[in-house]
Symmetry: C2
Subunit: 204 residues, 2 copies
């Protein structure tokens, strides 16, 4: 069983798509052990509860990167989501993980980003895409490394940008693809079908 | 009639796709006035001749940007491909146009690039994409501005990157899409269906 810890900060729509995929057995060999939010108001907490998944709230209390992430490590140990058996899924988690934490869970942390990386990393990727004037954007699942949205790419899905798109309409169209992509990526990892060589993640 | 000058440096496969589209009347209201190569050995010269299009060879003879481009301007005037009635299509043209030239033909120069810009501008875009490890690349038609591959985007087509792709196989798959995209872009310009506002090119 691959043990998931899903980290959120907001409404948790990708969280829902993952939990739904597990519940409906599109995603098997995977167990959602805990949902951790750094925001007590996150809508995703209610979603986790609805799916009977344990929740933890870890509010910053002014703690910097590693001090905060040490508490995160303790929680992961509490739920035995370890580098050896676990996968950390960032799903709208708005904190940057400290290098020490990333090193500990090397290649065991994945994130989803609403653009075709390396275009438009960082915040407001959909707005960046609209302002640049691209005709195709999309979403990317990647392993988390010490940089921002710069880790090895697992999966990408292109999404057309329409002339009339607003940030909202484009975000919505991309989000629909994110919800399909994230469970697919977790499935590939659970089935040990991903082989990583340098920057390339290949299917085996 | 939109008058085309097509600038090449090499084999001219995009040139062929444009001339073929004109010949088979998939592309109407467009006349290929001249093919200009900065390389006397370019394979595209024979293609132009096969389609009965005038050819000109403009070899650098050590001339810098604007000195060279002044000769280019003379040629365009000779064939009456002017900013008012013409379009300059870069099709594997390996020189960078000088800012003065670009200013003269503002929004009347288009280029094709084998990536989904803004990812992987510059040379060897397909190799860059493979080395980064993206799962989706593609091609972009854009207006040429004073920067490198940074002008307003007209059309983009995504192309899947396969695990086993070499630079050659990926380039080939992208090229097949380039050959469809370039005639489409020229058609939209000939039909005056492109409205540009800032960085956005919209269909009207």
């Amino acid at each position: 069983m691959l043990r998931l810890a899903i980290l959120i900060s907001g409404r948790g729509s990708n969280l829902r798509s993952i939990l739904q995929a597990i519940k409906t057995r599109r995603l098997v060999g995977v167990e959602a052990r805990v949902v951790i939010s750094n925001n007590a108001q996150a809508g995703g907490i209610a979603i986790a509860k609805k799916f009977n998944v344990a929740t933890e709230i870890l509010t910053p209390s002014g703690l910097g990167g590693w001090s905060f992430d040490k508490k995160l490590l303790s929680l992961l140990e509490k739920y035995t989501v370890l580098p050896s058996n676990g996968l950390i899924c960032l799903a709208g988690y708005m904190r940057i993980l400290s290098p020490k934490f990333v090193e500990r869970y090397k290649m065991r942390i994945v994130n989803i980003h609403p653009s075709l990386l390396p275009s438009f990393p960082g915040l407001h990727a959909q707005k960046q895409a609209l302002e640049y004037g691209v005709k195709v954007s999309g979403c990317t699942i990647h392993f988390v490394n010490e940089g921002v949205d710069s880790g090895t790419i697992l999966l990408q899905q292109p999404v057309r940008v329409m002339d009339r798109d607003s940030e909202e309409t484009l975000s919505k169209r991309i989000l629909a693809q994110e919800h399909k992509l994230y469970p697919r990526a977790i499935k590939l990892i659970a089935e040990k079908r991903i082989e990583v060589k340098g920057r390339k993640a290949m299917l085996i």
